[in-house]
């Protein structure tokens, strides 16, 4: 029989190669081949193959056994040493684990918050294909961005642009008219979140239906879809399908419940309770606002695009469609509209247009929060590195012995990484425990309602794993490289002294920690300063003791004057005034042609309709002319008041303004004369500059402002409530205090300041811990040094100063290099406010002093103890 090499053998060989060292490969495989061929010739194929297979298997098993067996043994040893070290250096371990678990807990919180914010609207299966149409209106020099659009563009785009597969418009009932309440069984059942929606709504937004079918739910006129919670509240456990709700307005009348969807999650920008089919609208209203009017924009229009649609291409086509339908008409009045498209999933964090469905968050704050979390992690990792390196001299002997017994550098590196991993795993568990137990507190801080299962969401777990690996790598890498480099003989023979280089490294880590701590303290101070500034600033109107009532339909509306008079009969209510907006609430804008201006250069001015008592209620000051007065009723119908800003915008002096005419081209009213100029006041938050405003008379508005005396507030309120129920039974009285409400405008800044407060504290705390451990260690290291100095006549006080100096120097150095950067950054932040506080250099000094205080406080005890020890104790063994 001749020997024929088989392919199989080659394959096996390739596999075996993994276990055979490179130098032995050639001869070894030659030998096995030769023997194989001999067996093959002598005994046949089967025994030869058997032999080969047997030996191959055997060697693999042996290899695996030997390698895992020994690595297990070594692993057990590493574990043992790691835990022994944990126990032996209790203080160090405690500080490390405390710092790490605190920072991990903080990072998990921030992570959850960010994850939640980023998850907005992503739960729709087709979320990436849903877009919202927005528009920019250019009128003269002004440009206004709206999230709302007119009615016609949606259908027009869907019909004429092939990429637009489907459109759906929704409109809040209150934005096309008054807030008309819903009725159930002829009883007013007032509620919020009532929208009209196109029948295609559920094609785009694929909500889950509990009752009814998405395809047909909004098809018929007079259909209404509820959310599960609302349905339950209205009808209890009954089957809500076919139940009747009604609305008296817009020709809507009775509506049948045709569908119930699952309650909306919190992380959607579009929160509604009721969706009424758009066809329920009275036809004449519908025809006007949906098809012909390209200028009136109460709708939010969403489209679903083709998968491969090119956004800029779609926008270009939208421009064409717009030009075809309405471009000319707009150009005539000096306006230009531009439609754009934005991702639905971007709305919550990146969209800040007029008329958003809800106040959106800011992506920059999300970035800021991630940076802060990262900084805290860096501080904790630096602690870890620092303490490990500081202890390196203690570990040197162990490393030396290990090397003598045959450990190679790789083994030592693994060991140290392993140790840092163990510590970080412990901290991770502690951190998670902290997160779970502090979740309610976190929820109350952030205003979210996250539950514990949220933490165990796969994305967050993945990130935690990443965090685990990253932290152990970052905190383990330097100690591992450093310790594994030790020369075995030197470690055993001499006492290792910490080298200069290592000292520099340690110091720069401490500098880094204090750079972060000082930055955070300083940022906190500046944010708080700015908040205080905004809260204490004189707003130019009287905001104390003003309550605002939201006007609702019913007799309060129809008999507004009577209601007002009735309220004013109470001696505690000194003033009352209806207006369409109050300070802190949004205002409408209208376009005006002022006297002497070109017809095609309209000015956009914020417009508020107020009654005669508005000026008096808010104690606004007139700088020129007269306020509205009820003795000249007919004349006032043709009068405007403006603020100083408007006069300035139009280039008129205060006196010149009186008697000038203005024509409102939005409402197409005849020209009216300016009769007075109001001194500037802050109608909006201090984040915004004072805008030009114009006031006209109207006896009823969305809000009723009551100026009440400081005494008997609760009696006054119950009086108001009583009268309200008389006038509008069945509707809840909704009111708020103006000053509190105005401060709500600074909620995002409040949140930011809370974040900074906690994190600055955490940063300082963790850096302090690190410094404390470092001081302890240095004091221990220098006992002999101090002993000798004392023998030679040094004073304890001098020694304390000597040791403190090194720590304080580090902090001072950190403060010097931090200053320009953080000063610049905080100025950048402040520049987003129209009215801002100046950064006082003292607040920087204060932050540095705080950091120094922490440094002294944490190091003093150990240092003094070391300095006051008896030199005999430390030098006895020399």
């Amino acid at each position: 029989m001749t020997y024929d090499r088989q392919k199989k053998v080659r394959l096996r060989e390739r596999f075996l190669r993994l276990f055979v060292s490179e130098t032995e490969c050639e001869s070894f495989f030659g030998d096995t081949d030769e023997y194989y061929s001999e067996l093959y010739v002598e005994k046949g194929a089967f025994p030869a193959n058997l032999w080969y297979a047997f030996h191959m298997t055997k060697s693999i098993i042996t290899y695996l056994y030997v390698s895992t067996f020994w690595s297990l043994i070594m692993f057990r040893n590493y574990l043992k040493i790691a835990f022994r070290n944990l126990k032996r250096y209790k203080g160090f371990s405690f500080i490390n684990i405390l710092g790490l678990s605190l920072s991990i807990a903080a990072s998990i919180f921030i992570l959850m918050y960010i994850h939640y914010e980023l998850s907005y609207d992503k739960f729709f299966p087709n979320a990436t294909r849903i877009f919202r149409i927005t528009n920019e209106i250019f009128l003269g020099d002004t440009e206004i961005n709206h999230s709302q659009t007119p009615g016609p563009p949606g259908p027009a785009f869907a019909a004429e642009i092939p990429e637009v597969l489907q459109y759906a418009r929704i409109v809040r009932i209150s934005s096309i008219g008054e807030n008309i309440p819903l009725k159930k069984d002829a009883e007013v059942f007032e509620d919020s979140g009532i929208f009209l929606a196109d029948s295609t709504f559920f094609d785009i937004f694929q909500h889950t239906f509990v009752y009814g079918a998405p395809q047909s739910a909004l098809k018929q006129p007079g259909s209404i879809v509820l959310t599960e919670g609302t349905a339950h509240r209205l009808f209890g456990n009954d089957d809500p399908l076919g139940k009747i709700l009604s609305m008296s307005g817009f020709g809507i009348g009775d509506m049948k419940v045709t569908g119930v969807i699952k309650d909306l999650p919190d992380n959607t920008h579009m929160k509604f309770n009721y969706l009424i089919s758009y066809h329920s609208l009275n036809e004449s209203i519908r025809n006007e606002i949906t098809f012909s009017d390209w200028g009136y924009f109460p709708f939010h229009t969403y489209v679903m695009l083709d998968k491969n649609a090119n956004l800029s291409e779609v926008e270009r086509k939208m421009e064409e469609v717009y030009q075809k339908h309405s471009g000319e008409k707009h150009t005539e009045i000096g306006a230009r509209w531009k439609y754009s498209i934005n991702k639905m999933t971007d709305i919550h964090l990146r969209s800040h247009l007029n008329g958003e469905l809800e106040t959106n968050n800011n992506i920059e704050y999300i970035y800021l929060q991630s940076i802060v979390a990262l900084m805290i992690m860096i501080i904790a990792c630096s602690n870890f590195m620092n303490l490990f390196v500081a202890r390196s001299t203690d570990r040197a002997k162990e490393i030396g012995i290990r090397k003598v017994f045959g450990a190679i550098r790789k083994n030592i590196i693994y060991q140290i990484f392993g140790e840092s991993l163990i510590m970080i795993i412990i901290s991770l568990f502690l951190g998670l425990t902290a997160v779970i137990s502090l979740l309610p507190f976190f929820n109350s801080l952030s205003g979210l309602t996250l539950s514990i299962p949220y933490i165990f969401n796969p994305q967050i777990l993945l990130f935690l794993f990443f965090l685990l690996v990253a932290t152990s790598l970052i905190s383990g890498v330097y100690p591992a490289v450093l310790l594994s480099r030790f020369h075995p003989v030197r470690t055993i023979k001499h006492n290792m002294r910490s080298s200069r280089k290592r000292n520099y490294f340690r110091r720069s880590l401490v500098v880094l920690q204090f750079v972060i701590s000082i930055s955070l303290i300083f940022s906190t101070i500046v944010v708080l300063d700015q908040l205080d500034f905004m809260k204490d600033q004189n707003l130019g109107f009287d905001k104390e003791q003003v309550i605002i009532i939201k006007v609702k339909p019913g007799r309060v509306r129809t008999e507004a004057a009577a209601f007002k008079d009735l309220l004013k009969m109470n001696p505690e209510i000194t003033e009352a005034s209806f207006s369409t907006s109050v300070p802190g609430q949004r205002t409408g804008v209208n376009a005006f042609i002022p006297e002497g201006f070109q017809q095609d250069a309209p000015q956009i001015i914020e417009t508020v309709r107020v009654d005669y008592d508005f000026i008096e209620t808010y104690k606004l000051e007139m700088v020129s002319g007269r306020p509205f007065s009820d003795v000249m009723e007919t004349e006032e119908q043709n009068a405007y008041l403006v603020n100083e800003q408007t006069a300035e915008l139009l280039g008129w002096s205060l006196d010149e303004s009186i008697g000038k005419g203005m024509q409102n081209i939005t409402t197409e009213e005849p020209e009216k004369k300016i009769v007075g100029v109001i001194k500037n006041y802050h109608h909006k938050s201090l984040k915004n500059a004072i805008a030009p405003m114009i006031y006209e008379i109207r006896s009823i508005g969305r809000y009723l402002s009551l100026k009440i005396s400081a005494e008997n507030v609760s009696e006054t309120l119950s009086y108001v409530e009583e009268k309200w129920t008389e006038f509008s039974p069945g509707l809840d009285l909704e009111y708020f205090f103006l000053d509190e409400n105005f401060e709500k405008l600074y909620r995002s800044e409040e949140k930011l300041s809370t974040l900074f407060k906690y994190f600055a504290f955490l940063a300082v705390f963790i850096s302090g811990l690190g410094l404390f451990a470092l001081a302890t260690y240095t004091a221990e290291q220098r006992t002999k040094d101090i002993g000798i100095r004392k023998v030679l006549g040094a004073h304890s006080a001098g020694l304390v100063v000597m040791m403190l100096k090194s720590f304080l120097g580090v902090v001072l150095f950190a403060s010097v290099i931090t200053f320009p950067v953080i000063y610049y950054l905080m100025n950048l932040w402040l520049s987003s406010f129209a009215f801002k506080t100046d950064i006082s250099p003292w607040s920087y000094v204060l932050s540095v002093v705080l950091a120094l205080a922490v440094a002294v406080f944490t190091t003093a005890h150990q240092t003094i103890k070391a300095a006051s020890s008896n030199p005999i104790d430390s030098l006895r063994y020399e």
């Binding site: 090499r5 050639e26 001869s27 495989f29 030659g30 030998d31 081949d33 030769e34 023997y35 030996h55």
Partner: protein, 111 residues
């Protein structure tokens, strides 16, 4: 003096015996034949590597043949230190054995 294990000693002697044709497989066969029990390749491979590391043998790559899949042999040759080590071992063994043999032989004679 670097010690030699029993296996190493056997392999070293086999190499000496095989002269110019000492390589893994031939050593295995030689030893299997002489001792009458099967020596697996690994039983030879390991002492060979040890011997090489200790410097008792010198190796060089020999010729290739198709039956080896075109791969060369690693020919082993005993080095002067190897010879010395064998001699030293032998001497040591003789001394140790001497006592044993004397007593055992005497006891046999007595019977």
């Amino acid at each position: 003096m670097i010690p030699l294990s029993r296996r190493e000693e056997q392999v070293l002697l086999a190499i000496w015996n095989l002269k110019d044709n000492a390589y893994l497989l031939s050593i295995k066969k030689h030893l299997s034949k002489l001792t009458g029990s099967n020596w697996p390749l690994s039983a030879v491979q390991k002492p060979l590597l040890q011997l090489e590391r200790k410097g008792f043998i010198k190796t060089h790559m020999g010729e290739a043949s198709p039956v080896r899949g075109g791969r060369r042999k690693k020919i082993c040759r005993i080095s002067p230190i190897g010879i010395d080590a064998l001699k030293a071992l032998r001497k040591e063994q003789e001394v140790l054995w001497q006592e044993f043999l004397n007593i055992e032989i005497n006891s046999i004679n007595k019977k």
